[in-house]
């Protein structure tokens, strides 16, 4: 029960953060993808299973909130969660540099895939924007902060993953 509340609140808070962030920074070169970073955190700290589920749920909510193509973020965030989970044994997710570089790399791949998927399913042609270059850098900058906040949030709920307890 406690875990369900923890997950529900985490989903809800990050969704708020993303909506507020989009409201003020969306469309600029300096937007932050809080939810993508959070999905990576779940994948890296809890494994691919958790990363995929969180990515899928957040993705659907992001799609619904933007009234964009329903499923496009669900695909991309699920893939991001899966990739993060698969790399968690190779990466030390507690290092800020690892968090930053991994977030940057995944964000770049995310935008490339976004263009491809949109081209398949939308009547609008996905066009290159400079934000595709700057947003991954901003994500990398904020990744350590998000990872720290989510670790702290998990500790508050006593939900720190067993692997991460030293």
């Amino acid at each position: 029960m406690k875990k369900a509340f923890y997950l529900l609140f985490t989903v809800w808070i990050l969704l708020w953060a993303q909506v507020v962030s989009n409201h003020f920074l969306g469309g600029t070169l300096f937007a932050v993808q809080w939810i993508l970073i959070a999905v990576l955190h779940f994948g890296l700290t809890r494994g691919p299973w958790a990363g995929e589920w969180m990515g899928f749920i957040w993705g659907l909510l992001v799609d619904a909130s933007s009234l964009g193509l329903l499923g496009i973020h669900a695909i991309l965030y699920s893939l991001a969660g899966y990739a993060a989970g698969m790399f968690r044994r190779q990466l030390d997710a507690s290092k800020p540099w690892t968090q930053a570089i991994f977030s940057w790399a995944v964000s770049m791949i995310y935008f490339a895939l976004y263009l491809v998927v949109e081209r398949f399913f939308s009547v609008n042609e996905g066009t290159f924007q400079w934000a595709f270059i700057t947003v991954p850098l901003i994500n990398a900058l904020f990744a350590p902060l998000v990872f720290f906040a989510l670790d702290y949030w998990a500790a508050v709920w006593d939900m720190t993953p067993v692997d991460a307890q030293h």
Binding site: L15, W16, V19, V20, N22, H23, F24, L25, G26, G27, A31, G47, P48, W49, E52, W53, F56, G59, L60, L61, D63, A64, S65, S66, L67, G68, L69, L70, G71, I72, A74, I75, S78, L79, Y82, G85, M86, R89, Y114, V117, F120, F121, V123, N124, T127, A131
Partner: protein, 276 residues
């Protein structure tokens, strides 16, 4: 080690399942079951968006002129400036924001009463950062009387301005294709002696382009461009924007004018939908 392998295996199977389900959603966007799911999810995501849609950025309140402030009456004969002087800075700022919001609401409803009595007032509930210049989401849908292709107007300084048309409408929310979308085309004219017609197209950025003007066109910088009403998609004489620059088109056959939109899409909070 076995657990590790098992975890990888089941995660890969789960990923395949999730991708399959997501692809089904993508492929069957228009079906009623996907629309119902979307409506359900929107209910979960709408509260923060509604909250934000009603917020106004503090910086805009700082730019209000003192004359404009004092002209806003609080209903008791005392101007907001005088009335709010009794309160602390933060309270005063909130009151000014509320006063401005009220003034804007009043503008919107005056335009509605005067020009478009059957229009439906809706709030901007959200927008997709990846399609910032192409779409906005409204908090009203089919059950409120909105339908695809209905024109959408914003009210700027007491006058309406065209911002786009309804692209999709579900039960309680709808998506607007903004004029800035490169797929958007609106029959337009430059009022005046010549009454020159053209087509306003989006550029996926702030600007609009008025295309297919005659090379001997008398259109000049600063001219207002309005809807022509041709094609019956939009009523005539709704302002679209002002001419900011003129240049020959790439094939040198026509002139095209760069337009500054009459309503900046970044500042839109409330819109009027001309329901048919």
């Amino acid at each position: 080690m076995d657990w590790e392998l098992y975890e990888r295996y089941r995660s890969t199977v789960l990923l395949a399942g999730l991708l399959f389900v997501s692809s089904l959603f993508l492929a069957f966007q228009k079906t009623s079951s996907v629309q119902h799911l979307r409506a359900l999810l929107v209910r979960f995501t709408l509260p923060p968006q509604r909250f934000l849609a009603q917020l106004k950025e503090p910086s805009s309140s700082a730019s209000t002129s003192p004359e404009a402030e004092s002209s806003v009456d609080n209903g008791s004969g005392e101007s907001i400036t005088e009335f709010s002087s009794h309160f602390s800075g933060e309270d005063r700022r909130k009151m000014q924001i509320l006063a401005e919001e009220n003034a804007h609401f009043r503008d919107v409803f005056q335009v509605k009463e005067r020009r478009w009595p059957r229009a439906i007032v809706a709030h901007v509930a959200g927008r997709d950062p990846q399609r910032w210049f192409q779409e906005i989401v409204l908090d009203k849908g089919k059950e409120d009387g909105l339908d695809p292709d209905d024109p959408v107007l914003a009210v700027v300084e007491g006058r309406e301005a065209l911002i786009g048309r309804i692209l999709e409408a579900s039960a309680h929310v709808s998506k607007v294709m903004l004029l800035q979308d490169s797929l958007s085309e609106v029959a337009a004219t430059v009022p005046g002696a010549q009454g020159e017609d053209g087509v306003v197209e989006g550029t996926n950025s702030h600007e609009l382009m008025l295309k297919f003007l005659d090379r001997s066109s008398q259109v000049k910088i600063g001219d207002l461009v309005v809807t022509s009403g041709l094609g019956n998609a939009f009523p005539p004489d709704i302002p679209i924007g002002w001419v900011e620059g003129l240049e020959p088109d790439p094939r040198q056959l026509f002139l095209q004018a760069k337009l500054r939109p009459a309503a900046r899409s970044n500042q839109i909070r409330i819109v009027l939908v001309l329901a048919t």
